[in-house]
């Protein structure tokens, strides 16, 4: 009875070790622990003493865990990590050139790609609750608190993406991190301009994978990914859309109507990100991004009509329209390059 329970508990304990270390040693550790438990039976202990020894064996694993985690972490972020990195999804893409474009993201990856939009929506929802009915102001506390928290989470997502070889979903984090860093570094909080300090999370997020792999390989993969699948740049630009829309067009005041608008924008653009990542073709990806943006624009104009005409936006309606068209075209450009690239390579192979 104690043996299966302890083996199961040991399995749970193993989950605390970093993944690359587990991938390398997890099975062996499980097997050695099971052998050590079985060995107590062979040693000829009476049943009660055997159970005590089994528990002692397990408790020693728990006791040694903090010490054992250090080399495990070192292995995971050191040279062992390089092997794990080499086996990351990206290398499958390298082996199969078409996989850069043709591979479909899993639901988990699609969710990761939608997460920055949801996080942005959540952070601004919290900011808006603090500022309900008040003029928005970059000098207020919620902007500093939730804004920098959001930037930190986006940077963490980008760093994870970097360690995984910059899969398609990570480009949304890159786009949003660049935009937020740029925006916040130009703002003032409590009358203080933090300037370049808001770029630190982004720089650390890019440096971390380089340090973890001790190579420039992640950076190379970032460029390689964009070169082989230009729609990734469209996705990075798409990630700018929600912050841009929110910051530019809702800067006059926050009210309950604006909050419902923000919630719709967040869900809409997150759904667009999922559709983009689940799409297999360049056309599919370009269309999903443009469609999400178009629907969001329609929603904006409908809200403007319902809630008091063009002055609902902080800018005139025609400026908003031109801005959206310009941005849509700009976002379409990388996808267009990708389509041309595919067309040229298809012609040359005939």
């Amino acid at each position: 009875m104690a043996r299966p329970l302890l083996t199961r508990l040991y399995g749970c304990l193993l989950k605390l070790y970093p993944q690359p270390f587990l991938a390398e040693f997890g099975d062996e550790m499980r097997a050695v622990f099971a052998q050590a438990i079985n060995g107590l039976g062979v040693a000829g202990f009476p049943p009660f003493k055997r159970r005590i020894e089994m528990i002692r064996l397990f408790l020693k694993e728990v006791w040694d865990l903090p010490v054992a985690l250090l080399p495990a972490l070192r292995f995971s972020f050191g040279s062992g990590r390089k092997d794990a990195f080499a086996n990351a999804a990206g290398d499958r893409e390298q082996d199969e050139p078409d996989a850069w474009v043709g591979s479909r993201a899993s639901w988990g990856e699609a969710l990761m790609g939608a997460l920055p939009f949801l996080l942005f929506g959540l952070a601004h929802f919290l900011i808006a609750i603090h500022l309900l009915g008040k003029p928005t102001d970059m000098g207020s506390r919620p902007w500093l608190l939730y804004g920098s928290g959001l930037l930190l989470l986006i940077a963490i997502g980008l760093a994870i993406g970097g360690i995984k070889g910059y899969p398609r979903w990570s480009y949304a984090y890159l786009g949003m991190a660049v935009f937020l860093s740029s925006n916040y570094s130009n703002g003032t909080f409590y009358g203080v301009a933090y300037g370049w300090r808001f770029w630190v999370p982004l720089v650390v997020a890019i440096l971390l994978p380089l340090l973890a792999t001790r190579s420039l390989r992640p950076l190379a993969r970032l460029i390689q990914g964009a070169w082989n699948d230009w729609t990734r740049l469209s996705f990075a630009l798409y990630a700018v859309l929600l912050p841009l829309y929110t910051i530019l067009f809702f800067e006059v005041k926050w009210g309950t109507d604006e909050l419902s608008g923000l919630a719709i924008d967040t869900l809409l653009l997150a759904a667009g990100a999922v559709a983009f990542l689940r799409s297999r073709t360049i056309w599919g990806r370009v269309v999903t991004l443009q469609a999400a943006m178009f629907i969001q624009a329609c929603k904006g104009f409908l809200f403007a009509g319902w809630l008091g005409g063009p002055h609902f936006f902080s800018l005139d309606l025609w400026i908003v329209l031109i801005g959206l068209l310009f941005f849509g075209g700009f976002m379409f450009l990388p996808g267009l390059v990708g389509l041309l690239q595919r067309g040229v390579s298809a012609l040359s192979t005939r």
């Binding site: 062996e28 550790m29 694993e61 006791w63 054992a68 050191g78």
Partner: protein, 127 residues
Amino acid sequence: MPTHNDFPTDFKPLREPTVFILLALSRQRKHGYAILKDVETLSGGRVKLSTGTLYGALARLLDQGLIQKSAEDETEAAIPSDAGSGEPRARKYYELTQVGRRVLKKELHRLQALLAAARQELGREGL
């Protein structure tokens, strides 16, 4: 990481469990459980490694190039299926590299010198 040809000069004194692990591997290649038992026997039951500390140490020694994995034996020493879920898996063996052997010798010489110095000093004081 040191290669087989480059003898590392910057190795600090090894910790006791590390010395015992290297000693356990000095005669022949061994799998994880055999190393665990050998360390216990060699230390007279004083050093009992958990699997966490054993594999943490093995990961570090692999990284430093002092040990290496040898070919897996898929027949005679497969891990029994009750050790984990599913089919029996091949056992992984570890063996000393040339660098590891030299580092172990250097460490044993250091310990011998230490012991000799201690004996000489204690003998002089009549302890």
